[in-house]
Symmetry: D2
Subunit: 113 residues, 4 copies
Amino acid sequence: MRELRKEISRFISERDWEQFHSPKNLAMALSVEVAEIVEHFQWLTEEQSRNPPPETLAELREEIGDVLIYLTELAEKLGTDPVEAAKVKLEINNRKYPATLVRGKADKYTKYE
Amino acid sequence: MRELRKEISRFISERDWEQFHSPKNLAMALSVEVAEIVEHFQWLTEEQSRNPPPETLAELREEIGDVLIYLTELAEKLGTDPVEAAKVKLEINNRKYPATLVRGKADKYTKYE
Amino acid sequence: MRELRKEISRFISERDWEQFHSPKNLAMALSVEVAEIVEHFQWLTEEQSRNPPPETLAELREEIGDVLIYLTELAEKLGTDPVEAAKVKLEINNRKYPATLVRGKADKYTKYE
Amino acid sequence: MRELRKEISRFISERDWEQFHSPKNLAMALSVEVAEIVEHFQWLTEEQSRNPPPETLAELREEIGDVLIYLTELAEKLGTDPVEAAKVKLEINNRKYPATLVRGKADKYTKYE
Protein backbone atom coordinates (compact mmCIF):
# COMPACT_ATOMS: atom_id res chain seq x y z
CA MET A 1 0.00 0.00 0.00
CA ARG A 2 2.82 2.40 0.87
CA GLU A 3 4.39 1.77 -2.52
CA LEU A 4 1.01 2.22 -4.24
CA ARG A 5 0.55 5.59 -2.52
CA LYS A 6 3.92 6.75 -3.78
CA GLU A 7 3.24 5.64 -7.34
CA ILE A 8 -0.10 7.45 -7.35
CA SER A 9 1.52 10.66 -6.08
CA ARG A 10 4.14 10.51 -8.79
CA PHE A 11 1.53 9.78 -11.47
CA ILE A 12 -0.53 12.83 -10.44
CA SER A 13 2.36 15.25 -10.02
CA GLU A 14 4.00 14.29 -13.34
CA ARG A 15 0.73 15.29 -15.04
CA ASP A 16 0.09 18.36 -12.90
CA TRP A 17 -3.39 17.03 -12.17
CA GLU A 18 -3.29 17.95 -8.49
CA GLN A 19 -5.37 21.04 -9.35
CA PHE A 20 -8.31 18.87 -10.53
CA HIS A 21 -8.11 16.36 -7.69
CA SER A 22 -10.05 18.09 -4.93
CA PRO A 23 -11.77 15.67 -2.51
CA LYS A 24 -15.08 16.70 -4.10
CA ASN A 25 -13.90 15.69 -7.58
CA LEU A 26 -12.22 12.53 -6.34
CA ALA A 27 -15.47 11.46 -4.67
CA MET A 28 -17.24 11.91 -8.02
CA ALA A 29 -14.54 9.95 -9.88
CA LEU A 30 -14.77 7.19 -7.27
CA SER A 31 -18.52 6.90 -7.83
CA VAL A 32 -18.06 6.74 -11.60
CA GLU A 33 -15.55 3.89 -11.32
CA VAL A 34 -17.80 1.96 -8.94
CA ALA A 35 -20.66 2.34 -11.43
CA GLU A 36 -18.47 0.64 -14.05
CA ILE A 37 -18.30 -2.35 -11.71
CA VAL A 38 -22.06 -2.23 -11.13
CA GLU A 39 -22.62 -2.09 -14.91
CA HIS A 40 -21.08 -5.54 -15.35
CA PHE A 41 -23.50 -7.06 -12.85
CA GLN A 42 -26.74 -5.21 -13.57
CA TRP A 43 -28.38 -7.86 -15.79
CA LEU A 44 -26.71 -10.91 -14.27
CA THR A 45 -28.37 -13.10 -11.66
CA GLU A 46 -26.56 -13.31 -8.32
CA GLU A 47 -25.51 -16.82 -9.30
CA GLN A 48 -24.06 -15.66 -12.62
CA SER A 49 -22.22 -12.85 -10.82
CA ARG A 50 -20.26 -15.47 -8.84
CA ASN A 51 -18.68 -16.80 -12.05
CA PRO A 52 -18.21 -13.99 -14.56
CA PRO A 53 -16.68 -14.93 -17.95
CA PRO A 54 -12.90 -14.34 -18.28
CA GLU A 55 -13.12 -11.12 -20.32
CA THR A 56 -15.58 -9.62 -17.82
CA LEU A 57 -13.26 -10.65 -15.02
CA ALA A 58 -10.33 -8.90 -16.69
CA GLU A 59 -12.35 -5.68 -16.97
CA LEU A 60 -13.56 -5.97 -13.38
CA ARG A 61 -9.95 -6.27 -12.27
CA GLU A 62 -9.09 -2.98 -13.97
CA GLU A 63 -12.07 -1.26 -12.41
CA ILE A 64 -11.28 -2.59 -8.95
CA GLY A 65 -7.82 -1.12 -9.50
CA ASP A 66 -9.33 2.24 -10.45
CA VAL A 67 -11.53 2.28 -7.35
CA LEU A 68 -8.58 1.59 -5.07
CA ILE A 69 -6.48 4.27 -6.79
CA TYR A 70 -9.11 6.97 -6.26
CA LEU A 71 -9.93 5.74 -2.75
CA THR A 72 -6.26 5.84 -1.77
CA GLU A 73 -5.85 9.31 -3.20
CA LEU A 74 -8.98 10.62 -1.49
CA ALA A 75 -7.92 9.10 1.84
CA GLU A 76 -4.46 10.65 1.47
CA LYS A 77 -6.00 14.08 0.80
CA LEU A 78 -8.04 13.73 3.97
CA GLY A 79 -5.04 12.58 6.02
CA THR A 80 -6.40 9.05 6.47
CA ASP A 81 -4.93 5.59 6.00
CA PRO A 82 -7.67 3.53 4.27
CA VAL A 83 -6.49 0.18 5.67
CA GLU A 84 -6.46 1.62 9.18
CA ALA A 85 -9.92 3.13 8.58
CA ALA A 86 -11.23 -0.27 7.43
CA LYS A 87 -9.91 -1.99 10.55
CA VAL A 88 -11.47 0.60 12.84
CA LYS A 89 -14.76 0.27 10.96
CA LEU A 90 -14.73 -3.53 11.28
CA GLU A 91 -14.34 -3.09 15.04
CA ILE A 92 -17.35 -0.75 15.09
CA ASN A 93 -19.37 -3.22 13.00
CA ASN A 94 -18.39 -6.05 15.32
CA ARG A 95 -20.10 -4.24 18.19
CA LYS A 96 -22.98 -2.88 16.09
CA TYR A 97 -24.03 -6.23 14.63
CA PRO A 98 -23.52 -8.86 17.34
CA ALA A 99 -23.12 -12.24 15.63
CA THR A 100 -25.64 -13.83 17.98
CA LEU A 101 -28.36 -11.32 16.98
CA VAL A 102 -27.88 -10.99 13.24
CA ARG A 103 -26.72 -14.48 12.30
CA GLY A 104 -28.05 -15.36 8.84
CA LYS A 105 -30.43 -12.43 8.71
CA ALA A 106 -30.28 -9.88 5.94
CA ASP A 107 -33.12 -7.82 7.37
CA LYS A 108 -31.39 -7.25 10.72
CA TYR A 109 -28.40 -6.26 8.69
CA THR A 110 -30.36 -3.78 6.65
CA LYS A 111 -32.28 -2.46 9.62
CA TYR A 112 -29.30 -1.84 11.86
CA GLU A 113 -27.16 -0.30 9.16
CA MET B 1 -4.04 -5.79 3.87
CA ARG B 2 -3.59 -9.52 4.46
CA GLU B 3 -4.71 -9.08 8.06
CA LEU B 4 -7.68 -6.98 6.92
CA ARG B 5 -8.76 -9.71 4.50
CA LYS B 6 -8.68 -12.26 7.32
CA GLU B 7 -10.69 -10.07 9.68
CA ILE B 8 -13.33 -9.47 7.00
CA SER B 9 -13.63 -13.21 6.32
CA ARG B 10 -14.10 -13.92 10.01
CA PHE B 11 -16.65 -11.10 10.36
CA ILE B 12 -18.75 -12.50 7.49
CA SER B 13 -18.55 -16.16 8.45
CA GLU B 14 -19.39 -15.51 12.13
CA ARG B 15 -22.61 -13.89 10.92
CA ASP B 16 -23.34 -16.41 8.17
CA TRP B 17 -23.71 -13.53 5.71
CA GLU B 18 -21.79 -15.27 2.93
CA GLN B 19 -25.17 -16.16 1.36
CA PHE B 20 -26.03 -12.46 0.83
CA HIS B 21 -22.59 -11.40 -0.38
CA SER B 22 -22.72 -12.32 -4.04
CA PRO B 23 -20.51 -10.09 -6.24
CA LYS B 24 -23.70 -8.49 -7.58
CA ASN B 25 -24.85 -7.52 -4.08
CA LEU B 26 -21.35 -6.43 -3.01
CA ALA B 27 -21.15 -4.13 -6.04
CA MET B 28 -24.44 -2.53 -4.95
CA ALA B 29 -23.25 -2.15 -1.35
CA LEU B 30 -20.01 -0.61 -2.61
CA SER B 31 -21.95 1.99 -4.61
CA VAL B 32 -24.12 2.82 -1.59
CA GLU B 33 -21.08 3.43 0.61
CA VAL B 34 -19.41 5.61 -2.03
CA ALA B 35 -22.62 7.66 -2.25
CA GLU B 36 -22.30 8.36 1.47
CA ILE B 37 -18.91 9.91 0.73
CA VAL B 38 -20.37 11.90 -2.18
CA GLU B 39 -23.19 13.13 0.09
CA HIS B 40 -20.72 14.96 2.32
CA PHE B 41 -19.29 16.88 -0.62
CA GLN B 42 -22.37 17.59 -2.74
CA TRP B 43 -23.04 21.15 -1.54
CA LEU B 44 -19.45 22.10 -0.72
CA THR B 45 -17.23 24.04 -3.06
CA GLU B 46 -14.07 22.26 -4.18
CA GLU B 47 -12.14 24.57 -1.87
CA GLN B 48 -14.31 23.70 1.13
CA SER B 49 -13.94 20.00 0.32
CA ARG B 50 -10.19 20.30 0.89
CA ASN B 51 -10.76 21.22 4.55
CA PRO B 52 -13.85 19.48 5.89
CA PRO B 53 -14.80 20.18 9.54
CA PRO B 54 -13.60 17.57 12.10
CA GLU B 55 -16.96 15.80 12.53
CA THR B 56 -17.36 15.45 8.76
CA LEU B 57 -13.80 14.12 8.58
CA ALA B 58 -14.58 11.49 11.21
CA GLU B 59 -17.61 10.33 9.24
CA LEU B 60 -15.65 10.31 5.98
CA ARG B 61 -13.06 8.10 7.63
CA GLU B 62 -15.73 5.54 8.54
CA GLU B 63 -17.11 5.57 5.03
CA ILE B 64 -13.67 5.20 3.45
CA GLY B 65 -13.29 2.19 5.73
CA ASP B 66 -16.62 0.78 4.52
CA VAL B 67 -15.64 1.23 0.87
CA LEU B 68 -12.33 -0.60 1.38
CA ILE B 69 -14.08 -3.42 3.27
CA TYR B 70 -16.55 -4.07 0.45
CA LEU B 71 -13.91 -3.58 -2.25
CA THR B 72 -11.61 -6.09 -0.55
CA GLU B 73 -14.41 -8.59 -0.18
CA LEU B 74 -15.53 -8.18 -3.79
CA ALA B 75 -11.95 -8.55 -5.05
CA GLU B 76 -11.49 -11.68 -2.93
CA LYS B 77 -14.68 -13.19 -4.37
CA LEU B 78 -13.36 -12.55 -7.87
CA GLY B 79 -9.92 -14.00 -7.03
CA THR B 80 -8.16 -10.63 -7.32
CA ASP B 81 -5.73 -8.74 -5.10
CA PRO B 82 -6.93 -5.10 -5.14
CA VAL B 83 -3.48 -3.61 -4.46
CA GLU B 84 -2.00 -5.66 -7.30
CA ALA B 85 -4.92 -4.58 -9.55
CA ALA B 86 -4.28 -0.93 -8.70
CA LYS B 87 -0.58 -1.21 -9.58
CA VAL B 88 -1.33 -2.87 -12.91
CA LYS B 89 -3.93 -0.16 -13.66
CA LEU B 90 -1.46 2.63 -12.85
CA GLU B 91 0.93 1.07 -15.36
CA ILE B 92 -1.83 1.06 -17.99
CA ASN B 93 -2.69 4.68 -17.19
CA ASN B 94 0.96 5.64 -17.43
CA ARG B 95 0.98 4.55 -21.05
CA LYS B 96 -2.55 5.75 -21.83
CA TYR B 97 -2.01 9.31 -20.59
CA PRO B 98 1.56 10.28 -21.49
CA ALA B 99 2.62 13.06 -19.11
CA THR B 100 3.92 15.16 -22.00
CA LEU B 101 0.54 15.13 -23.75
CA VAL B 102 -1.92 15.58 -20.88
CA ARG B 103 0.08 17.79 -18.53
CA GLY B 104 -2.28 20.17 -16.72
CA LYS B 105 -5.22 19.37 -19.01
CA ALA B 106 -8.50 18.09 -17.60
CA ASP B 107 -10.12 17.83 -21.02
CA LYS B 108 -7.46 15.51 -22.42
CA TYR B 109 -7.95 13.53 -19.26
CA THR B 110 -11.68 13.30 -19.78
CA LYS B 111 -11.41 12.59 -23.47
CA TYR B 112 -8.89 9.77 -23.21
CA GLU B 113 -10.59 8.12 -20.30
CA MET C 1 -44.58 17.95 -15.36
CA ARG C 2 -44.96 21.64 -16.18
CA GLU C 3 -46.57 22.21 -12.80
CA LEU C 4 -43.81 20.21 -11.09
CA ARG C 5 -41.15 22.33 -12.77
CA LYS C 6 -42.81 25.49 -11.47
CA GLU C 7 -43.11 24.16 -7.92
CA ILE C 8 -39.44 23.16 -7.91
CA SER C 9 -38.40 26.63 -9.12
CA ARG C 10 -40.42 28.29 -6.39
CA PHE C 11 -39.04 25.92 -3.74
CA ILE C 12 -35.45 26.74 -4.73
CA SER C 13 -35.86 30.48 -5.10
CA GLU C 14 -37.74 30.86 -1.78
CA ARG C 15 -34.70 29.30 -0.08
CA ASP C 16 -32.10 31.14 -2.16
CA TRP C 17 -30.49 27.77 -2.94
CA GLU C 18 -29.89 28.56 -6.61
CA GLN C 19 -26.26 29.36 -5.71
CA PHE C 20 -25.64 25.75 -4.59
CA HIS C 21 -27.48 24.10 -7.46
CA SER C 22 -24.88 24.06 -10.21
CA PRO C 23 -25.28 21.16 -12.67
CA LYS C 24 -22.18 19.60 -11.09
CA ASN C 25 -23.75 19.63 -7.63
CA LEU C 26 -27.15 18.52 -8.90
CA ALA C 27 -25.52 15.53 -10.60
CA MET C 28 -23.95 14.58 -7.26
CA ALA C 29 -27.27 15.00 -5.42
CA LEU C 30 -28.98 12.87 -8.07
CA SER C 31 -26.47 10.07 -7.55
CA VAL C 32 -26.93 10.22 -3.78
CA GLU C 33 -30.71 9.88 -4.08
CA VAL C 34 -30.40 6.97 -6.51
CA ALA C 35 -28.08 5.24 -4.02
CA GLU C 36 -30.85 5.48 -1.42
CA ILE C 37 -33.02 3.47 -3.81
CA VAL C 38 -30.21 0.96 -4.41
CA GLU C 39 -29.72 0.62 -0.64
CA HIS C 40 -33.22 -0.83 -0.24
CA PHE C 41 -32.52 -3.54 -2.78
CA GLN C 42 -28.89 -4.46 -2.05
CA TRP C 43 -29.54 -7.54 0.13
CA LEU C 44 -32.84 -8.58 -1.42
CA THR C 45 -33.13 -11.26 -4.07
CA GLU C 46 -34.56 -10.12 -7.40
CA GLU C 47 -37.76 -11.96 -6.48
CA GLN C 48 -38.03 -10.15 -3.14
CA SER C 49 -37.41 -6.83 -4.87
CA ARG C 50 -40.61 -7.34 -6.88
CA ASN C 51 -42.69 -7.26 -3.69
CA PRO C 52 -41.12 -4.95 -1.13
CA PRO C 53 -42.89 -4.63 2.25
CA PRO C 54 -45.23 -1.60 2.62
CA GLU C 55 -42.85 0.55 4.71
CA THR C 56 -40.02 -0.01 2.21
CA LEU C 57 -42.41 0.87 -0.59
CA ALA C 58 -43.34 4.14 1.12
CA GLU C 59 -39.65 5.07 1.44
CA LEU C 60 -38.95 4.08 -2.16
CA ARG C 61 -41.77 6.37 -3.26
CA GLU C 62 -40.13 9.32 -1.49
CA GLU C 63 -36.78 8.55 -3.05
CA ILE C 64 -38.25 8.17 -6.52
CA GLY C 65 -39.75 11.60 -5.93
CA ASP C 66 -36.34 12.99 -4.93
CA VAL C 67 -34.70 11.54 -8.05
CA LEU C 68 -37.32 13.11 -10.32
CA ILE C 69 -37.00 16.48 -8.53
CA TYR C 70 -33.23 16.63 -9.05
CA LEU C 71 -33.45 15.23 -12.58
CA THR C 72 -36.04 17.84 -13.54
CA GLU C 73 -33.95 20.63 -12.05
CA LEU C 74 -30.78 19.43 -13.76
CA ALA C 75 -32.57 19.12 -17.11
CA GLU C 76 -34.00 22.63 -16.69
CA LYS C 77 -30.53 24.03 -15.97
CA LEU C 78 -29.27 22.42 -19.17
CA GLY C 79 -32.24 23.70 -21.20
CA THR C 80 -33.68 20.21 -21.73
CA ASP C 81 -37.12 18.71 -21.31
CA PRO C 82 -36.56 15.30 -19.63
CA VAL C 83 -39.73 13.70 -21.07
CA GLU C 84 -38.74 14.81 -24.56
CA ALA C 85 -35.20 13.52 -23.95
CA ALA C 86 -36.60 10.14 -22.87
CA LYS C 87 -38.73 9.85 -26.00
CA VAL C 88 -35.81 10.69 -28.26
CA LYS C 89 -33.66 8.15 -26.41
CA LEU C 90 -36.29 5.43 -26.78
CA GLU C 91 -36.25 6.07 -30.53
CA ILE C 92 -32.46 5.69 -30.57
CA ASN C 93 -32.71 2.47 -28.54
CA ASN C 94 -35.36 1.14 -30.90
CA ARG C 95 -32.87 1.31 -33.75
CA LYS C 96 -29.85 0.27 -31.66
CA TYR C 97 -31.41 -2.89 -30.25
CA PRO C 98 -33.58 -4.40 -32.99
CA ALA C 99 -36.21 -6.60 -31.33
CA THR C 100 -35.46 -9.46 -33.72
CA LEU C 101 -31.79 -9.54 -32.70
CA VAL C 102 -31.91 -9.02 -28.94
CA ARG C 103 -35.18 -10.76 -28.04
CA GLY C 104 -34.83 -12.37 -24.60
CA LYS C 105 -31.06 -11.89 -24.47
CA ALA C 106 -29.44 -9.99 -21.64
CA ASP C 107 -25.96 -10.44 -23.07
CA LYS C 108 -26.82 -8.78 -26.39
CA TYR C 109 -28.31 -6.04 -24.30
CA THR C 110 -25.18 -5.61 -22.26
CA LYS C 111 -22.90 -5.92 -25.24
CA TYR C 112 -24.62 -3.36 -27.43
CA GLU C 113 -25.12 -0.84 -24.66
CA MET D 1 -45.61 11.04 -19.33
CA ARG D 2 -48.52 8.66 -19.98
CA GLU D 3 -47.40 8.27 -23.57
CA LEU D 4 -43.79 7.71 -22.43
CA ARG D 5 -44.91 4.96 -20.06
CA LYS D 6 -46.71 3.21 -22.90
CA GLU D 7 -43.73 3.45 -25.25
CA ILE D 8 -41.42 2.02 -22.59
CA SER D 9 -43.79 -0.91 -21.95
CA ARG D 10 -43.92 -1.69 -25.66
CA PHE D 11 -40.12 -1.41 -26.00
CA ILE D 12 -39.59 -3.90 -23.16
CA SER D 13 -42.25 -6.40 -24.16
CA GLU D 14 -41.17 -6.46 -27.83
CA ARG D 15 -37.72 -7.52 -26.63
CA ASP D 16 -38.96 -9.89 -23.93
CA TRP D 17 -36.72 -8.10 -21.43
CA GLU D 18 -39.31 -8.09 -18.66
CA GLN D 19 -37.49 -11.08 -17.12
CA PHE D 20 -34.32 -9.00 -16.56
CA HIS D 21 -36.08 -5.88 -15.30
CA SER D 22 -36.65 -6.69 -11.65
CA PRO D 23 -36.73 -3.59 -9.40
CA LYS D 24 -33.31 -4.65 -8.07
CA ASN D 25 -31.79 -4.68 -11.56
CA LEU D 26 -33.56 -1.47 -12.58
CA ALA D 27 -32.15 0.29 -9.52
CA MET D 28 -28.66 -0.80 -10.61
CA ALA D 29 -29.25 0.35 -14.19
CA LEU D 30 -30.53 3.69 -12.89
CA SER D 31 -27.35 4.20 -10.86
CA VAL D 32 -25.18 3.34 -13.87
CA GLU D 33 -26.96 5.93 -16.06
CA VAL D 34 -26.67 8.60 -13.36
CA ALA D 35 -22.94 7.89 -13.13
CA GLU D 36 -22.67 8.66 -16.85
CA ILE D 37 -24.05 12.11 -16.05
CA VAL D 38 -21.65 12.51 -13.12
CA GLU D 39 -18.74 11.48 -15.38
CA HIS D 40 -19.26 14.55 -17.57
CA PHE D 41 -18.98 16.88 -14.60
CA GLN D 42 -16.29 15.23 -12.49
CA TRP D 43 -13.35 17.36 -13.63
CA LEU D 44 -15.28 20.55 -14.43
CA THR D 45 -15.56 23.46 -12.03
CA GLU D 46 -19.08 24.33 -10.92
CA GLU D 47 -18.88 27.36 -13.18
CA GLN D 48 -17.90 25.28 -16.21
CA SER D 49 -20.71 22.84 -15.45
CA ARG D 50 -23.22 25.65 -15.99
CA ASN D 51 -22.15 25.97 -19.64
CA PRO D 52 -21.12 22.61 -21.03
CA PRO D 53 -19.91 22.53 -24.67
CA PRO D 54 -22.56 21.51 -27.27
CA GLU D 55 -21.35 17.92 -27.76
CA THR D 56 -21.32 17.32 -23.98
CA LEU D 57 -24.81 18.80 -23.80
CA ALA D 58 -26.04 16.41 -26.49
CA GLU D 59 -24.67 13.45 -24.55
CA LEU D 60 -26.12 14.73 -21.28
CA ARG D 61 -29.51 14.94 -22.95
CA GLU D 62 -29.32 11.26 -23.91
CA GLU D 63 -28.32 10.27 -20.40
CA ILE D 64 -31.08 12.35 -18.82
CA GLY D 65 -33.43 10.47 -21.14
CA ASP D 66 -31.99 7.13 -19.97
CA VAL D 67 -32.41 8.08 -16.32
CA LEU D 68 -36.06 9.04 -16.84
CA ILE D 69 -36.73 5.82 -18.77
CA TYR D 70 -35.40 3.60 -15.98
CA LEU D 71 -36.99 5.74 -13.26
CA THR D 72 -40.38 5.53 -14.98
CA GLU D 73 -40.07 1.80 -15.39
CA LEU D 74 -39.00 1.26 -11.78
CA ALA D 75 -41.85 3.44 -10.51
CA GLU D 76 -44.33 1.52 -12.67
CA LYS D 77 -43.06 -1.79 -11.27
CA LEU D 78 -43.61 -0.46 -7.75
CA GLY D 79 -47.08 0.87 -8.62
CA THR D 80 -46.04 4.51 -8.26
CA ASP D 81 -46.48 7.58 -10.43
CA PRO D 82 -43.10 9.40 -10.34
CA VAL D 83 -44.58 12.87 -10.97
CA GLU D 84 -47.07 12.36 -8.15
CA ALA D 85 -44.24 11.09 -5.91
CA ALA D 86 -42.18 14.20 -6.70
CA LYS D 87 -45.06 16.53 -5.81
CA VAL D 88 -45.68 14.75 -2.51
CA LYS D 89 -41.95 14.91 -1.73
CA LEU D 90 -41.81 18.64 -2.50
CA GLU D 91 -44.63 19.12 0.02
CA ILE D 92 -42.65 17.18 2.64
CA ASN D 93 -39.53 19.23 1.89
CA ASN D 94 -41.52 22.44 2.16
CA ARG D 95 -42.32 21.59 5.77
CA LYS D 96 -38.93 20.04 6.55
CA TYR D 97 -36.86 23.01 5.37
CA PRO D 98 -38.80 26.16 6.29
CA ALA D 99 -37.65 28.95 3.97
CA THR D 100 -37.16 31.32 6.92
CA LEU D 101 -34.73 28.94 8.63
CA VAL D 102 -32.63 27.61 5.75
CA ARG D 103 -32.52 30.64 3.45
CA GLY D 104 -29.15 30.76 1.66
CA LYS D 105 -27.60 28.12 3.91
CA ALA D 106 -26.12 24.95 2.49
CA ASP D 107 -25.14 23.61 5.90
CA LYS D 108 -28.68 23.73 7.28
CA TYR D 109 -29.65 21.99 4.08
CA THR D 110 -27.11 19.28 4.58
CA LYS D 111 -27.79 18.91 8.27
CA TYR D 112 -31.55 18.56 7.97
CA GLU D 113 -31.43 16.23 5.03
